[in-house]
């Protein structure tokens, strides 16, 4: 056990730190507290810059544009990002979900066609899994694909799809056999979002921002070459996506939480409550420190997960733990920030921190629902990690 960087890791870290310092665009820094809400153009530019510098797809194979680096480099990248707060890469779904699934299940042609453009941010991906009637019970999905010669013809509706409004491609789960048991009639398609018959309608969240969307498919023709894995074998492929969504997400989420804890401490130092600063208030101090402790616990849990990932190549159960605990911690933390701000917290852009904390607090309510509800994650931990008898 050694928590320090190896000389090689330390070299990568210092090189990256200097690169971030020199390259984070001024227009991003100038946005101040608003930077947390993302900006499409800045993100697109940044994605390209990251790719050209070789920092996109650190762990992806070299032949498809990745760096072929060990997972520890990805962890260092996220830690340094938490420190420097650069813009986000535009291809969140491509990098975290579509890409790893294509690497695991794609043909050579598919890998060549899609992976590089994910890394460079040239093509943005979205996810078409959930439906109005199929949330936690994903396998009950009803979007149909019917065999029609050289193509599948897709009809149906997907929902809660982040980035769909700017996406070029969609990882789409469809039902290709209505007779088979529900897990065995699903196929995983890669769908061009510019195809005729695809319609995207934005959904506004409780923050007021339209961050996710509904997608409607009406007689959309998808070439048969765009199947990922086997016909009716989509469930297993989808599990790879979800494993990666929760597996490698732990580091990214913890990096985000690190930024939030740092900002919370900054807020506490500058905000007056009861005749002193919040940082001097014993009750608030205790609760702020608790957030810091939760952050460290997540951080070192990720590190333990990393060691497992390096040994086996497959993310372990720690991903579910990290997602579950991060989401609840982020909700507590952002609520504590509003408490510290007092009535001022109710103002949006005209208030303290340009409404940063209000936005973050409202946004945090989605954290225990998106990417597996906390209830589903507790089921996964109970049944698959602890081996408790299955309830269904």
């Amino acid at each position: 056990m050694d928590f320090r960087d190896t000389p090689e890791e330390a070299a990568f870290r210092s090189e990256l730190r200097a690169w971030l310092e020199a390259n984070i665009p001024a227009e991003h820094r100038d946005r101040g507290h608003m930077a947390g809400r993302g900006d499409e153009e800045i993100s697109r530019e940044w994605s390209k810059k990251l790719y050209e510098a070789g920092y996109s797809g650190l762990t992806w194979p070299k032949e498809y544009g990745g760096a072929g680096a060990p997972y520890t480099h990805q962890a260092i990248f996220l830690e340094e990002s938490a420190r420097a707060e650069p813009p986000e890469h535009i291809g969140v779904i491509g990098l975290g979900m579509a890409g790893p699934t294509i690497i695991a299940h794609g043909t050579d042609d598919q890998k060549k066609r899609y992976l590089q453009n994910i890394l460079s941010g040239e093509e943005v991906w979205c996810q078409g899994f959930s439906e109005p009637g199929s949330g936690s019970d994903l396998a009950s999905l009803r979007t149909r694909a019917v065999d029609d010669g050289d193509s599948w013809v897709v009809n149906g509706q997907k929902v809660w799809s982040s980035f769909a409004h700017i996406a070029d491609w969609c990882i789409l789960l469809v039902r290709t056999d209505t007779e088979a048991p529900k897990h065995k009639g699903i196929t995983y398609l890669l769908v061009d979002m510019h195809s005729p018959g695809v319609e995207v309608r934005p959904l506004r969240q409780i923050t007021g921002d339209p961050e996710f969307n509904e997608i409607f498919f009406s007689d959309v023709r998808v070439p048969k070459a765009n199947i990922l894995g086997e016909v009716n074998g989509g469930w297993g492929v989808a599990m790879t996506t979800l494993l990666h969504e929760r597996g490698t997400l732990g580091f990214a989420l913890t990096a985000r939480l690190e930024v939030m804890v740092r900002k919370l401490i900054e807020l506490a130092k500058q905000t007056s409550v009861n005749g002193h600063t919040a940082a001097e208030d014993p009750l608030l101090r205790d609760r702020i420190v608790d957030q810091w402790v939760q952050l460290q616990a997540l951080r070192f849990t990720n590190y333990r997960a990393l060691t497992g990932l390096v040994k086996t190549g497959v993310p372990g159960p720690e991903g579910s733990i990290a997602k579950l605990h991060w989401s609840e911690t982020n909700q507590e933390l952002t609520k504590l920030a509003l408490e510290i701000l007092g009535p001022e917290s109710q103002l949006d852009e005209d208030g303290a921190w340009s409404g940063f904390w209000q936005y973050q607090q409202l946004r945090s309510r989605g954290n225990t629902i998106e990417a597996g509800t906390s209830e589903v994650l507790r089921n996964i931990i109970a049944e698959r990690v602890l081996g408790l008898p299955r309830g269904r």
């Binding site: 190896t6 130092k269 402790v293 070192f300 060691t307 209830e375 089921n379 309830g391």
Partner: protein, 366 residues
């Protein structure tokens, strides 16, 4: 970066688990707990033969010259097995102060002798962190020999160990002296955790051996405290782990309404939450152990975070375990309460979570 234990450390864990399962099944632990002595003296010779009393003792002093990370594995397993005996007192509190003491060290290494540390006073400091404030126990020298007098309270395992290391004040400052239990007038008090009883001592002119020079006591005790907090965080992880294991077993077998109760989410989600808290606390405890082992700059905040989180996780795990066990978990017969009581002993040691968070606050808000 490497966050795994070595193969040797994994083997040590397996050895500890096998020895404890064989020698101290939970029925045996319960029986010992009810006895007057509260421990099995023979067991210390056995664990010494396994090398557990000398892991962190340098090789030239008869030890194996390993580090705290190796001992950490044992603290965790001894918590999981609820080992009844003064291991924490001897190895966690006293041994680090005795490494240069040629009189006491060989007996500790061989398992023939045990020791503890006495710092708290009835109307003086209660925590290791407070020994600089108002200590009244006195050490005096005449004709080159030391004697110790005073009253000490909340001394772990006071009535069963051989050596008691007393934190006392001499004219040159605070130091540590060893006295023999027989000279200390020890008295045991009925303690919630009967596997780790508190006693009080009242030596009066007891012959004493100088262990830590007067004036150097505060630094020496600060190092002992750091290590003790990490050790207890690890024990707490072991306790939480066992509470999770006992709960998994119970809710998988116990049936109500024709189904194992573990199929009901109101039950299974409590077990999932116990496990999540356990794994998070485990990560902090390993971080703390590594910081203590390497003398990392972050050691003080790491042990504070680990102790606060792991003790909370252990107490809560036992409470949830009692809940999901139903009536049987609330009985004297079932071993759960023994773990629960140890968890509470640990939780209150040097103050519960808020005390340690306050330490961290000082560093975060400076």
């Amino acid at each position: 970066m490497d966050f795994a234990f070595s193969d040797e450390q994994d083997m040590l864990r397996e050895q500890a688990r096998a020895f404890l399962a064989d020698r101290f099944p939970l029925e045996k632990v319960a029986e010992i707990t009810r006895s007057d002595e509260g421990w099995d003296k023979q067991s210390f010779r056995q664990i010494a033969e396994l090398g557990w009393t000398s892991l962190s003792v340098p090789e030239d002093a008869g030890g194996s010259g390993m580090g705290f990370i190796d001992e950490a594995v044992l603290f965790e397993e001894l918590g999981r097995g609820l080992f009844p005996g003064p291991y924490f007192s001897t190895i966690g509190l006293a041994l680090p102060l005795l490494l240069d003491s040629s009189d006491q060290l060989p007996g500790i290494v061989s398992g023939e002798r045990t020791a503890t540390l006495a710092w708290a006073e009835p109307s003086g400091p209660s925590k290791l962190a407070d020994i600089g404030r108002g200590i009244t126990a006195k050490a005096e020298r005449s004709n080159g020999s030391w004697t110790v007098s005073g009253e000490k309270s909340l001394v772990p395992d006071a009535e069963i160990v051989d050596h008691i290391l007393v934190v006392a004040a001499a004219s040159e400052g605070i130091g540590v002296w060893a006295i023999e239990r027989g000279d200390a007038n020890p008295k045991t008090h009925s303690t919630m955790d009967a596997t780790r009883r508190f006693g009080s001592i009242a030596p009066s002119g007891a012959d004493a051996v100088l262990i830590v020079e007067p004036g150097k006591g505060e630094d020496a005790i600060a190092a002992v405290r750091r290590r003790a907090l990490a050790a207890l965080a690890l024990e707490a992880v072991g306790i939480a782990q066992r509470a999770v294991e006992l709960s998994i077993e119970h809710v998988s077998e116990r049936k109500q309404f024709d189904k194992p109760i573990g199929t009901y989410q109101a039950v299974s989600h409590q077990v999932a939450d116990m496990y999540v808290d356990l794994e998070l606390a485990r990560s902090l405890a390993y971080w703390a152990a590594w910081c203590v082992d390497t003398g990392d700059d972050q050691a003080d905040v790491a042990v504070a975070a680990a102790k606060a989180a792991a003790a909370d996780a252990a107490v809560l795990a036992c409470e949830r375990a009692i809940q999901v066990h139903g009536g049987i978990g609330f009985t004297w017969e079932h071993p759960l309460h023994l773990f629960y009581k140890r968890a509470q002993w640990i939780n209150t040691f040097e103050g519960a979570g808020s005390t340690h968070r306050s330490t961290i606050a000082t560093s975060l808000f400076s």
